[in-house]
Symmetry: C3
């Protein structure tokens, strides 16, 4: 895959070598994200950060990533776009907005809408989520996190053992992660969910076709023993026809330190796409896990920044120019101890 | 007119030499808008992009234009401003906000409000639309588009033949365009609208006073033959007392390729201030016109960027410094083919 | 107090030497705020400007201040944050958002929330108002304004005579100002309010403990004679259980030029935290005061910019590097006369 000048719409565009290329650029961008140095390589470039559905953290993560490369950000956060309300087609919106930006990040509530938008756009488009369809940067940052966490324990993505826990029926992040993990060898997957919230049939078939070894269970303790990664998700209330149906499942699969200690291997890493539901009746990940060094959920969110920086750098073809433009940081970074 | 340090509130401020000056600066800014080079001439300057009424594309167009000159943008997109709700006068709001910006772009729902705001502001104010009153940047980008498109055919603004089609009663863009075209000689205008949506009487008188040759008709075919430009507008539903009244007129004046071929001269240019209504019952400009090279509607939107850049450059007095500050572009521009 | 790498959550953190340090940095930043020169000292830094409650002018003031130091701004203006709505804890929000920014400005409707957020944040947090609790930058800009205005008359903060006028019960700005003035010697304070809107008992005790000389009155003429500063506030309607209760007090304490002339010393300075209620039934400060050179309300708002710049500069430890990075301004500043 040639990233330069191309859209990123789906995780299906990526083969293993594309992923490796992206991750190696992300690695090089790490010192810029952690403010050891700065770059202005995208000085003069404009990101159109277009969110036709609210998603604060994804929006800020993309915007900050672009700023870290030196570019400016123009944003839409209006849910009901006035122009669409006046009968404008998505193609017209794309034509016009692509005249204001060098690259567009688009979040839209309708499945397939980002693809349609990209077809009319005159600049590259990155899909930041189109309905329940795709959200490639989330899958890529999850995979990047898994790889980084595993490498601490001298393991890698081949031979991965992972438990996916929670609402596997509606969780878009989980679906994309399944697709991307299918590209690796000898993956073993425990799918832990209530029966009604199991992974959709077609995805299950995709996994078995790709020779992923799958075990479905409703039992958390069983699912999380003998895995490298536990990936927990929230019940996607907003996708249920009525909230009471969702409430039946809240709190069924809560992980805390004592369950972890009793069932997990010592270095098992805990992930979550966030936001996690911390209300007492859900409590997906108990607060006593805060002290667990294997709780990787905030490292995972941080990785979103380098992954998105890498996507921008590759699509805009500047990945080779960043090091040359590096400058020192003027300010005190972080908190005084 | 001396642009430097002055407000731009109304199209009436501009005589022909002002327009020529603005357009010549816009021409010089073209390579910066199309990313052949970048400038940071407004590095350190802040635009207060204040939208007290939603208008996504106008807001993004002004913001992107300021970014392209190197400046930062602070924005208000709240429709019901909390301070105004607490009884603050527009003059106080202007005094305070002008302490945060070097220049202010203001959109406001009330006629005359931008003028009132400007009187109290300590920095230049550009009117981005005050109710049904004025929207000078729209009129200027329309005129710039007409001139550029005509120059391809070795024609110019004097001796222009133009058809204005659609809701001529409520369309603010059309009203401003009429005013500005009155400044040119030997203009011939076909006003094509349902009888109830004709151009207001006072504007009609202004045109005849300026010796514009006017022909009013309800017949699209008649109106669009023998013109250089067809300027189509949407029925301004939101200005009707009830939507059903508006619906009577939707779809009455739809242009498509076969009507165009049968009635227009070969190089007749099609314009629209956008958004255009593409719902099947309106279909102002049919999708089969996409293939027509004379469909200028997206070039017209693009021209908004250079015109707004030129307004900023002239009002902030940097139009002579841009070339000197030019730098190369680091990134790959546009899409891979 | 060591500013560098630390949160600014409460006015109680500041002793007199901290205030002097902040004000001396603010003085040095004045030429940058008034565009005699520019600095890019925070180039590459990102402010997370997080407003979980609307406050347009405070948000724009913080954002513009950061831009004036050369940094980028990412913003949240959504009142109902989607993540919080999905059951995310404030600590999780802090962990995630602090991965996207170098410093965070937080406004939140709940008392104590900013403190809680700061405990989990990995970057410094500045409190921009947490419910009725604290709003330190407002108190500091008020104090800075008092000092600057007094210095014109060869006076200083010790021996200050001030009248606080209006809703002293609910006005957060007034409460913080009382706290900060307690740090100075020989302060004389007239508290002018309807009996029901008097300063809360605990604050009154704090003032007398700090040997502030306090006089409570309902009579405006009496309160404003023999003072250096009149500080007027708006009735905080939104804090009353029902609006009609608030309406009883609107317009009771209106200052105009003839009351001023009849009762005040010649150089008495008029301040207001803004927005002021200019509706005819409130009219806290009459429009005939516009011509009074001692009306300092817009200078006060302007001072917010240098105070916030100074907060950023000190917390990020760049206050010593600003002068070295100074560059000339390219554009025409302000309006043509």
């Amino acid at each position: 895959m040639d990233f330069s000048g191309n859209h990123i719409l789906s995780i299906d565009q990526f083969d293993r070598s594309d992923i490796e290329k992206l991750f190696s650029v992300a690695d090089k961008l790490e010192p810029f994200a952690s403010k050891e140095k700065i770059t202005r390589v995208l000085e003069g470039a404009i990101l159109g950060n277009m969110f036709f559905e609210p998603s604060t953290r994804t929006r800020i993560s993309f915007g900050a990533s672009f700023n870290l490369l030196g570019g400016n950000v123009r944003e839409i956060t209006e849910v009901g776009s006035s122009s669409l309300a006046k009968g404008e087609s998505l193609a017209d919106t794309a034509q016009v907005l692509s005249g204001y930006s060098d690259i567009i990040v688009l979040r839209h509530p309708e499945n397939g809408s980002v693809q349609k938008f990209a077809e009319a756009s005159r600049v590259p488009v990155i899909n930041a989520g189109d309905g329940s369809n795709e959200h490639p940067s989330q899958a890529l940052l999850d995979l990047y996190t898994i790889q980084k966490e595993l490498s601490q324990n001298k393991k890698n993505l081949d031979n991965l053992r992972i438990a996916l826990v929670g609402d596997l029926k509606y969780g878009r992040a989980v679906h994309s992660l399944c697709k991307i993990l299918s590209k690796y060898s000898n993956v073993k997957m425990d799918l832990v969910s209530p029966e009604e919230l199991q992974l959709p049939e077609d995805l299950l078939n995709q996994l078995t076709d790709a020779r992923v070894s799958v075990n479905q269970t409703e039992n958390l303790e069983e699912g999380i023993s003998e895995v490298d990664i536990i990936y927990v998700t929230r019940v996607q209330e907003e996708r249920f026809n009525n909230k009471e149906d969702a409430n039946k499942y809240r709190g069924l699969l809560s992980l805390n330190q004592s369950i972890y200690t009793a069932n997990c291997e010592p270095n098992t890493v805990i992930m979550h796409p966030l936001p996690r539901d911390s209300r007492s009746d859900a409590n997906e990940l108990d607060r006593d896990l805060y002290a667990n060094p294997n709780l990787a959920i905030f490292r995972q969110a941080d990785n979103g920044v380098v992954i998105r920086m890498a996507m921008f750098a590759l699509v805009l073809g500047v990945e080779g120019k960043i090091e040359k433009t590096a400058k020192p940081v003027n300010w005190k970074v972080g908190l005084s101890s």
